[in-house]
């Protein structure tokens, strides 16, 4: 079943090497790579903004940048990270590449729509970069009114246009994945034989499709208001700024589930592959993804506890926010149970996965703390919140992305990465991350507000620690960039199934042929069928 090296065989990479063949490709694998290059680029830009912020925060006084500049830095960091890295990274890179393969299909349902979604992403990015080069925006990534509509004289219209456009990239990807998973599964690939990565991306696609249109209309209204003064949220004409927040967070809370669900899907794959066990409680984990998708739409008001929202609404939102933590916790329990009595190996992807579980638990628990009204009113808009969401977004999602990139690197490129460098970098990232963000929990509890470029001197020690952590983290991110690119050219050739996984994407050559499989597969086994693999191997050996 394991296929041998296939560098000389035609595959999706060498079948055509012109620029035109890349820019006009409808091959989901190439589109995944187009997205990969793009999101890494934007991660670097947004990361640079963060680096400048951390440098400023080395000292209590504002002395590196102007306050207005600092506002622009955190705004651009948020806008670019959220929409041009976090939301597309795992779905549009790993999802695009592997969902069709995992279900045994030749491509997604709408390959041209897939390519269109990448071009839409690029156009949205151009607009957003346009906002950056015309002076940036300083409204925060949340674009709160009335500042963004009435008072800010920065490039709000261009930026909101960029966000409006890139939303459609998400929507197109979501439509494609939903229809693909419903209609393009290979014979025998029933819903409950799907890898959990597919389930997570399915649930995520539901969110993308149902939430993003509300973002679209909301930023459209902001742009129109800033440009033409339509004043839907302007108190002087009867409008209510809180209504803007309701609309914005109705999208943006589900958006954070867009940012975590695909990562959870990756972790299911990694945990099972590197403990050589079936994921414990497969159906429960699958349904928990759907539960997160549904419940995630009913909790947005927890971002508005101190906004002037009615205390009764706040109570309802608080309660529902406790409930939404349950399916996430269930996943953590199931992953842990999967590890139990597994045949564990500490390869790089597994290090990232184990780090994810620990850091996600911290992020998740602090989320439950924030869901509690009495606690939230004290730490809202402090660094406690900042630390909470970075534990999820960076400590969890980015780690899952890196883990997935390493795991699937042999399949994507046909080369192996250097294992020692991988493990070393994973540890550097883990250490750097915690040093950056754990002090921020304490800073928040002590009262340091977010989005401020200066602070009282007693906060300096922890800020210095945080910045030191950030520099370690930066090194940790640069290392994989270097050795993975190096490996593309000089890495050891990879076999078809280096991790001996039963999942369909590994039953093909590395890199795969353009149509993914030489023969369309017929599925007869459950997902994660390691027991069957061991049997078959035993039969071969015996």
């Amino acid at each position: 079943m394991e296929t041998t090296l296939s560098e000389s065989k035609p595959n999706y990479l060498n079948i055509s090497t012109t620029i035109r063949s890349w820019l006009l490709t409808t091959d989901h694998k190439r589109i995944g790579i187009l997205y990969l290059v793009s999101v890494i680029f934007f991660f670097a830009i947004a990361g640079t903004a963060a680096a400048m912020m951390r440098l400023e925060l080395l000292t209590p006084r504002g002395d590196l940048v102007q306050p207005e500049t600092y506002n622009k830095l955190f705004t651009m960091h948020g806008v670019i990270m959220v929409w041009f890295f976090m939301i597309p990274a795992i779905p549009a890179v790993l999802g695009n590449f592997f969902i069709p393969m995992m279900i045994g299909a030749r491509d997604v349902a709408f390959p041209k729509l897939n390519l269109a979604s990448w071009y839409v992403f690029i156009v949205g990015a151009m607009f957003t970069m346009g906002a950056v080069v015309t002076g940036g925006i300083d409204t925060g990534w949340t674009f709160y009114v009335p500042y963004s509509t009435l008072y800010s004289n920065t490039s709000v219209v261009i930026a909101t246009a960029g966000v409006f456009i890139v939303g459609f990239s998400s929507i197109f990807t979501g439509i494609n994945f939903i229809v693909t998973i419903h209609k393009m599964r290979a014979p025998g690939m029933t819903w409950f034989r799907l890898p959990l990565f597919v389930w997570s991306n399915y649930a995520n696609s539901l969110i993308m499709v149902l939430a993003t249109p509300i973002l679209a209309i909301t930023v459209l209204l902001i742009g129109l208001d800033h440009a033409f003064g339509i004043g839907f949220f302007d108190p002087s004409t009867g409008g209510d700024p809180i209504l803007y927040q309701h609309l914005f967070w109705f999208y943006s809370h589900p958006a954070v589930y867009i940012m975590i669900l695909p990562a959870m899907g990756v972790i299911s794959e990694l945990i099972s592959a590197f403990s050589r066990s079936r994921v414990f409680g497969y159906k429960v984990v699958a349904f928990s993804s759907l539960a997160i998708a549904a419940l995630g739409f009913m909790v947005w008001g927890h971002h508005m506890f101190v906004s002037g929202q009615s205390p009764y609404a706040s109570t309802v939102f608080s309660f529902l926010s406790f409930v939404v933590a349950v399916p996430s916790a269930i996943k953590v329990f199931n992953w842990t149970a999967t590890l139990n009595k597994g045949h564990i190996s500490f390869k790089t992807p597994m290090l990232y996965a184990l780090g994810f579980i620990g850091l996600f638990t911290v992020g998740g628990l602090t989320g439950v703390m924030l869901a509690s009204l009495a606690f939230d009113v004290h730490v809202t808009d402090t660094y406690f919140v900042v630390a909470h969401f970075h534990y999820i977004m960076v400590g969890s999602t980015v780690m899952a992305f890196l883990g997935g990139m390493h795991y699937w690197f042999p399949k994507i490129t046909g080369k192996m990465y250097p294992e020692r460098w991988g493990q070393f970098s994973a540890i550097i990232i883990f250490v750097g991350f915690n040093l950056t963000f754990f002090p921020q929990f304490i800073l928040g509890l002590e009262g340091m507000p977010r989005r401020y470029y200066a602070y009282p001197p007693e906060f300096q020690v922890l800020n210095v620690a945080s910045t030191a952590g950030a520099s370690i983290l930066a090194i940790g991110y640069i290392l994989p960039l270097l050795y993975l690119v190096w490996s593309v050219f000089k890495g050891a050739p990879a076999p078809g199934n280096p991790w001996n996984s039963p999942s369909l994407e590994w039953q093909s050559t590395s890199p795969p042929p353009k149509d993914n499989f030489d023969e369309p597969p017929v599925v007869t086994h459950e997902a994660y069928d390691y027991a069957h693999m061991a049997q078959a191997q035993g039969a071969l050996d015996g």
Binding site: I242, F297, G301, Q309, S310, P311, A313, F317
Partner: protein
Amino acid sequence: MSQETTSSVRTLILSFLALMVLLALTVWGSFIDVGAWRATVAVVVAIAKALIVMIFFMHLKGSNRLIWTVAGAGFVWLSFLLILTIGDFVTRVPIGPGP
């Protein structure tokens, strides 16, 4: 088989006539004072018209359950936004001493 359900011409024309009747009903009804119910009546009739369009013109009739689910999903999710947001506005209480 790529032949999906086809509404007959008769069905389509009858549906159109039903829509026109409902239109006349709502316009005429807006002149009658039904007090607090007017919003409900208007929305109910609009839903009826929308259902006629969806079931007969858009061929929901004869489509599988999956399509019905997709057709309804947008409205169900919209109801989350509406219910909880309006819930905020109608339960606002003045805090602290008023003017």
